[in-house]
Amino acid sequence: MRGLSLFLGCVIPNRYPGIEMATKLCLAKMDIDCVELKGASCCPAPGLFRSFDRTAWLALAARNIVLSEELGRDILTVCNGCYSTLADANRIMKDDKALREQVNRHLAGIGREFKGSIEIRHIIEYLHRELGPQGIGKHVERPLDIRAAVHYGCHLLKPSRERGLGSFERPEFFDELIESLGATSIDYPDKTECCGAGGGVRSALKEDSLRLAQHKLSRIKEAGVDCIVNACPFCHMQFDLGQEEIRRITGIEYNIPVLHYTQLLGLALGFTPDMLGINLNVIKNNTFVQRIENGQ
């Protein structure tokens, strides 16, 4: 198995750096061979730039992939959007020779060439396939006695024929990773539904996009959980910052803590909420933090 290079994207390093720290702390503690992919850019975002111009989208994605090809490492993404762009672009260029040649003509202008020699991984998919719930469980120092609402996010699962992670209708692998930490993954209506942020909808039609987030938040609130756990910083932002935006528009407060899986994993591995940047969320929930710090 090849080593990994960590692809940060935009939202993690520039809006939720706690997720970057949590990822780095967890990878190091679990002794996973991963270096930072220096000089990478926006993936570029699938909902925006794939919609605008396919060639520019492919060319920028190809440059990011090439940076990791030159290291001889697979790319590790921590964001569903980055995973969607890089995995799709990698597959499209591996499969379509004419398109690969077209993109490589652009890349020649910066002295690079896409070879198609690596794979794109998502941290949830990677942890489940390579370590499995039992393997993760062995690293747990602080079992988490909490109820979590898992949010898979669309692009981790779909298009399912390309992702190869099974049916998108009732997936279980992410729930299993959460339960491996001692937590309970709670079923709730519309569990696999979209958070509303993708496809450029949050950026251009924010109030519309928040109606989708509010729908999910109300379902999750009814289910009664301690936190939402996601696999994507853009879903994370939609649920965390989105709760404050919804409060401003509707007056309704949900006050549900939102954690990226790497932050939940970090808590179970023994790191403090502060080290994992959980306090940097918009939604501050002292009850949750105190429960973790006091060992429930």
């Binding site: 390093p13 809006r15 780095k24 850019s41 396919r54 202008g109 039609l205 519309d208």
Partner: protein, 176 residues
Amino acid sequence: MSEPTHDNTNLLNTMKAACRDTLRCMQCGVCSGSCPSGRHMAINIRRLVKKAARTVDVLKDEQLWMCTTCYNCQERCPRNIDIVEAVFSLRSIAVHEGIMLPEHGRVSGLLIRHGHAVPIDDERKKQRTELGLDEIPLTVQSCPEGLEEVRTLLKSCGFDRLTGDRDKSNAKTETA
């Protein structure tokens, strides 16, 4: 109104070539029944699919930008139509015709200037330092040669022309 005129025949041919798949649609409505945006917004994905390869009017339809690309419709389509791919194609054709939502033009400008759709701001620089991370992430943001490569590629693909000069006019709002 939806019949092709002399002027838009080429455009319609481009759309037909990109969305040929959608002609297999039998209008069963599984797509719109599965669409989370359709529950909360005006988008009717079944109608968009129906219009995709038939009329240039669809390019101006705001519904085209209400799709979150969640893929539910594509996953469940009994005719195996790649509906989200059709949405991407239609959006791209619209953008090449100069139709782009203002906020999307602004984000495109950020990509050209910073290599990121969401660039760093002062608040996060401080947070990063306090967490023990590099103040500026080790992406193109701390790598001028890398940023130059990104700009060269975008220019080589004609991306800067697509988004016009919107990147310059909105420079002040870049950290919003």
